[in-house]
């Protein structure tokens, strides 16, 4: 009676989690192809709503918005009472004598998104840049909003 040990290369380990990962991928695909258009439609009720991220660093807040195919001049950024509003209008870049649409998933027209900022910012120091269709707004925090180290005293 001998116990045979197979070298690793001959028998591949079956990991059940591989299948879970592919199920997850299938779900992603389903949501993308099936539901994504519905999700957009829902946003359409209020107009086109570009996707955005808000990050908080020690010294500043950073807001990134996906705004492909715009001109800098067509983007409006305003700050009021802790609310940042990014708005504008996207016009069709190519004239319509370019031809008729076979399919159009892109949005045109006015858009507006407002986010409530999680910290107080210094309005004078706000900068924004637009590159490759991404708008990045950097809002430096006001002095009071920055995290402070408090040292514990002796008595």
């Amino acid at each position: 009676m001998k116990l045979i040990r197979y070298p690793e290369t001959l028998v591949s380990n079956w990991t059940p989690f591989d299948q879970l990962a592919s199920i997850r991928d299938d779900f992603n695909r389903l949501f993308e192809s099936g539901f994504a258009p519905l999700f957009r439609e829902a946003r359409m009720l209020g107009g086109w709503a570009p996707a955005l991220d808000v990050h908080e660093e020690n010294d500043a807040l950073v807001v990134i918005a996906e705004l492909p195919g715009m001109k800098k001049e067509e983007i409006d950024i305003s700050l009021h009472k802790g609310l940042l509003t990014i708005s504008g209008e996207r016009k069709e870049e190519t004239p319509s004598d370019e031809g008729k649409f076979h399919r159009n998933e892109r949005f045109y027209g006015k858009f507006s998104r407002t986010v409530s900022l999680p910290a107080e910012v210094d309005a004078n120091g706000v900068t924004a840049s637009y590159r490759d269709g991404l708008l990045t707004v950097r809002l430096p925090k006001s002095e009071e909003a920055k995290p402070k180290q408090i040292t514990v005293g002796e008595n």
Binding site: F17, I64, L67, P68, G99, R106, G133
Partner: protein, 127 residues
Amino acid sequence: MNHTIDSTRETSEARTTEERFVTPATAIRQSNDGSYLIEAEMPGVSKEGIEISVDQNELIITGRRAFPSTDGRVVYREIRRANFRRVFELDGSIDRNRIAARIENGVLRVTLPLAEQVKPRKITVEG
């Protein structure tokens, strides 16, 4: 549940090295001379991140972008951390050698002209 899937993802992704892709919103137009124009939205992608190939009768466009990395915490996230990819089936009438593309402000524009002999031609009647 998420945690279980996420922690096992590292091991399975290391094996398969599958990239995560998202389908870019696209507009397809056809002009009067029959040529097609594909406009695909790929915010964050610059010229260096674009890969276009034609394989048999498929046009594959891939756009890769660098994700904004901050050392801060994420307060709110909607931007998908994935690259863009879409496959189109080409009409036999398209002239593959003259497919041209350019990307500007995150919008990739691919023009697909028709092969010369396929364009509508007027034939004059003799006599």
